[in-house]
Symmetry: C2
Subunit: 197 residues, 2 copies
DNA sequence: TCAATCGGAGACTAACAGTATTCGAATACC
DNA sequence: GGTATTCGAATACTGTTAGTCTCCGATTGA
């Protein structure tokens, strides 16, 4: 175990806190998970949290960044391995079942968004992230439609908004009633892809 | 001013509290609105709240009941006054802009759902309400489709789930970024109605 | 008229986010 | 290499909140 410099040591602390917070936020929820519990579970005190993050919201933003990076990797993997429409659809459906279907994620995103929406800085930050995701989805849709020779029944940005909204709404309802099926997502995609059997 | 019986007096207190809480929850949010502020604003003390409601969640459920009754009236009005598809669509769009578009409502529903989901009793209650709304929407869709001679591209219950999810997701994103358009909702309905242009 | 009841008041507790202060070890300077 | 400084982390503290408990006084029923 090599001796750590102050910067390295702090980075390690920060990473520990983010990892622990991620686990607890996803499992228990944002508001019910106190900073003290997170600090305890990670083996530190509240002081460690507040010298690494301005407040609880900043910690959660770091956690969400971590989650997003992970999700982006997974979805990229899922798509690159498929060529036909049907293969891509089933790859997407599998991803959706594991992610939208897994209640914790959407719940955390939504709980944080709702609780932080009164903070103008965080609200704007979240709005930007949301816009970027919608643009990314729209680009993806356009590319897929072009490649597969599909004529979309609505503008790509509207379709992207619809798809993202649907994902959020579904994930949220599943947090209340996990028996709701995720398949509606692929139903909508099929509908967008048109009557191509 | 006639002398009130004890029961009447309590009912009045309860109604005052619900009305005040409704206003404040919608304007400020659920978690940031303390019971003491609600009680104060209504001209009572916390004791009044706790002798009329088991806890904060119960008060919020009463508020949501109140809101739902109001919304149901409005949507019924909107629909009954229209005969053609286009009239109904624009009536619905108007309703959507005033309701989904008005950020407070969705935000309150979602904030409460997320915060109360750990309470098994409330969670089940919310799940039932959600199921009933989906069934109601599904019935509405079926009736409309039949009346207008439309063949739905997916089962009515899936369409209902999609529509509700879309509404929730849209309202939620609008709580973060109010520039997002509500029109996607009617886009989806047109898509469900098929190429009947 | 008087006793029982119960809606509501208000003091209290525990848990929380966030702040202020302090401690000690890694750093930088001499 | 010793000493002063810096700064990450610990800890004691504050203000606010949901929820509890006790008490008061007005309505009720006899």
């Amino acid at each position: 175990m090599p001796r750590l410099t102050r910067a390295e040591s702090q980075a390690r602390t920060r990473a520990h806190l983010v990892a622990t917070a991620k686990e607890m936020f996803l499992a228990e929820g944002y508001s019910v998970t106190s900073l003290e519990k997170v600090a305890d579970a990670a083996g530190y005190s509240k002081g460690a949290v507040y010298s690494n993050f301005r407040n609880k919201d900043e910690l959660c933003l770091a956690v969400l960044d971590d989650i997003h990076a992970e999700k982006a990797m997974k979805i990229a993997e899922a798509i690159t391995g498929a060529d036909t429409i049907d293969e891509r659809l089933s790859a997407f459906q599998k991803w959706a079942e594991e992610n939208i279907g897994n209640v914790g994620w959407t719940a955390l995103e939504v709980e944080f968004a709702i609780s932080a929406r009164r903070d103008e800085v965080v609200r704007e930050e979240l709005a930007n992230r949301d816009r970027m995701i919608r643009e990314l989805i729209a680009a993806l849709i356009t590319a897929q439609a072009e490649e597969l020779g599909i004529r979309l029944p609505m503008p790509a940005d509207a379709a992207a908004t619809a798809l993202l909204s649907l994902g959020i709404g579904l994930g949220l309802q599943r947090a209340i009633d996990p028996t709701i099926e995720v398949t509606v997502l692929t139903d909508l995609i099929r509908l967008l892809a048109g009557p191509s059997k």
